[in-house]
């Protein structure tokens, strides 16, 4: 300084020219240094100053260009930094907005950021949670498993997924589904881990409830199945019972049918027997009717031979005897017809005269009765006519007459007499057959029409005659057959 001052002092003139150019350099340097990179120094020509100022200006030129590039780069970087900040803000805003717990960890697993929900849920502070502090909110029992899997993912770089409970600020554990995804760089190395914990307790509860419901349902189904099985077994038992009952019923029915068949067979047998008895009776009537005429016929024929042999034979006698023989033969032939008519079954109902049928029936029996010393009287009034079966009606009359005859013979009644009377009463044909054989004991009076009831000796009565007679009159012809004791005997009344 002192050298310069000495120089200045020494040569002011000289110094004036130099100092003025230095001043210019100084002003220029100051301006450029102040940031005006457009400033250029003018230090005249031809000397070291000019050289200096040129070099100075060139340097300023380069500086100016570099400054411009730098400034543009700064602007760019700033924009990029803004962009990043904004992106990060967006991420955090978004991560805070989601209902899940979320966090970000370094590649080594150190968690350096949690979202708002995490703190809200756990009731913990950032300091407590940073790094591996999260283990505090885990169930100590389950933590080892969680750690093992998490460390495995960190080592392999594979995503992590697991459900485990996390303790809330209220001290209660809730189930969370935890998913962690790695962020990889261009080389595939893990840069960061992004994790979310989703509360699945509701889901789990729902699942549990569903499970429980399912179990319950299954139980109920099992129960119902059991009940159904029981019902089925019961029904099967009932079915078996019913089948058993049905079989029993069938057996009973078969038994009943068998009994009925037996009864029918018995009935058939008795009917057969009674028919045989009636035929026998008929044969007896025939024999009584025929013996006398046959005897006479034989005599008429023999007379011819005997007179021819012993004398007295004549043509007149021959003609007379032949005529008598023929009369007898005609009579016998006629009685065959009567018996045939009597025995022929009636095919259809037809109108007939009751007194006529009685007369014919009595005619068939007359010889028989008279041979037994029984008188028979017939009378009728008003031509009683009905619609029915004349043959069957005649059989009833014959049955009643035969019963009377048997009673007479059994009791040895003298002066035996049967009275048959028929008439019309209230548009009905009534016939009574009365005898004087002593009547029927009152105690059996109502039983005589029962099937198989008989008072006759063993082998003589079937007990079917009166039963059949009642059936014929009441069932087949809609009439009535009654009995009562009158005077010295019994009176049967046929009303049709």
């Amino acid at each position: 300084m002192s050298a310069a001052a000495a120089a200045v002092a020494n040569s002011w003139t000289l110094s004036r020219a130099i100092s003025e150019r230095i001043a210019r350099l100084r002003v220029g340097a100051s301006a450029i240094g102040g940031g005006n990179l457009q400033y250029r120094i003018d230090a005249g020509d031809g000397d070291e100053f000019a050289e200096l100022s040129r070099a100075f200006n060139a340097m300023t030129e380069r500086l100016s260009a570099s400054h411009v590039a730098l400034e543009s780069e700064i602007v760019e970087r700033k924009a990029a930094e803004d962009e990043l900040r904004q992106s990060e803000d967006r991420f955090r805003t978004m991560a805070n907005a989601i209902p899940q717990l979320a966090w970000v960890a370094r590649a080594d697993g150190f968690i350096y950021w949690y979202n708002q929900r995490w703190y809200e849920y756990t009731g913990m502070t950032a300091e407590q949670m940073e790094g591996w502090g999260w283990q505090q909110v885990h169930d100590p029992q389950l933590l080892p498993g969680v750690l093992q899997q998490w460390k495995g993912s960190i080592a392999s770089g594979e995503p992590f997924e697991m459900v485990f409970p996390l303790r809330g600020g209220d001290g209660k554990f809730r189930q969370f589904l935890t998913r962690v995804r790695p962020l990889n760089d261009a080389q595939g190395e893990v840069v960061q881990w992004f994790g979310t914990n989703t509360d699945v307790s509701e889901l789990k509860r729902a699942e549990d409830a569903l499970l429980k419901l399912n179990e319950e349902l299954e139980m109920r189904v099992a129960l119902r199945t059991g009940e159904l099985e029981e019902t089925r077994v019961e029904l099967e038992a009932q079915n078996a019972e019913l089948q058993e009952a049905y079989r029993d019923q069938e057996e009973q029915s078969a038994e009943r049918i068998r009994i009925l068949q037996e009864l029918r067979q018995k009935e058939q047998l008795l009917l057969q027997q009674s028919r045989m008895a009636a035929m026998g009776e008929m044969l007896m009537n025939i024999s009584h009717q025929w013996r006398q005429p046959l005897n006479v016929l034989g005599m008429e024929v023999q007379e011819l031979g005997l007179t021819y042999k012993y004398g007295g034979f004549s043509e007149e006698m021959l003609d007379g005897n032949i005529q008598k023989a023929m009369e007898i033969i005609q009579h016998l032939s006629g009685t065959i017809g009567d018996f045939q008519d009597f025995l022929a079954p009636d095919k259809v109902k037809a109108p007939f005269r009751v007194d006529e049928v009685i007369r014919k029936t009595v005619a068939l029996m007359k010889e028989n009765l008279e041979d037994q010393g029984i008188q028979i009287l017939i009378s009728s009034q008003g031509a009683p006519q009905i619609i029915g079966y004349p043959g069957a009606y005649g059989q009833v009359v014959m049955n009643l007459l035969t019963n009377a005859k048997d009673a007479f013979l059994e009791r040895g009644v003298t002066g035996a007499m049967i009275t048959v009377h028929s008439w019309v009463e209230k548009e009905r044909a009534v016939a009574t057959i009365s005898d004087n054989a002593g009547g029927i004991p009152e105690e059996i009076l109502q039983r005589i029409f029962d099937a198989y009831f008989t008072t006759k000796e063993l082998g003589k009565g079937t007990g079917v005659g009166l039963f059949l007679s009642k059936t014929i009159i009441e069932k087949n012809m809609g009439g009535r057959l009654l009995v009562r004791n009158v005077g010295a005997g019994a009176e049967f009344r046929i009303e049709v």
């Binding site: 005897n295 034989g298 008429e300 041979d371």
Partner: protein, 134 residues
């Protein structure tokens, strides 16, 4: 048989309810036995009456007849004349009648229809027997 060896007269009572049979029988017996006196009755009652009147050697009777049957008549005749010869001529093989008559006693029990040759032989046999027995 055309002629009787003895030709001894005898009497016979015919008791028969059928008029034709009675008439022819009487006629035939008379033809065969001209030496026989014949009485005819239409029932037991009439027969008994005739027997009481004529006391015939032989009684030829039917059983079944009105008024009084042959058995009853024979019983009553037996009381009057125990040695009377009976020839029964009936249409019925009734065992009861046969037994009852057997008790009274008969020479022959013939069945209707009558065979006159058989009847004649019986009359001859019974007439002889009766005569021998008497």
């Amino acid at each position: 048989m055309a002629s009787l060896a003895s030709g001894v007269p005898f009497s016979l009572l015919i008791v028969e309810d059928d008029p034709t049979a009675r008439t022819i029988t009487a006629r035939m017996v008379a033809l065969k036995f001209p030496e026989c006196t014949i009485y005819s009755a239409e029932n037991g009652k009439k027969g008994l009456q005739l027997f009481q009147e004529h006391t015939p050697d032989i009684v030829l009777t039917d059983i079944n007849m009105p008024e009084m049957d042959g058995i009853e008549m024979a019983r009553q005749i037996r009381l009057l004349s125990p040695g009377t010869t009976y020839i029964v001529l009936t249409a019925y093989g009734d065992k009861g009648f046969f037994e009852q008559f057997k008790e009274i006693g008969f020479c022959a029990y013939l069945m209707k229809p009558v065979d006159f040759q058989e009847l004649f032989a019986t009359i001859e046999r019974c007439n002889l027997g009766g005569k021998l027995g008497a």
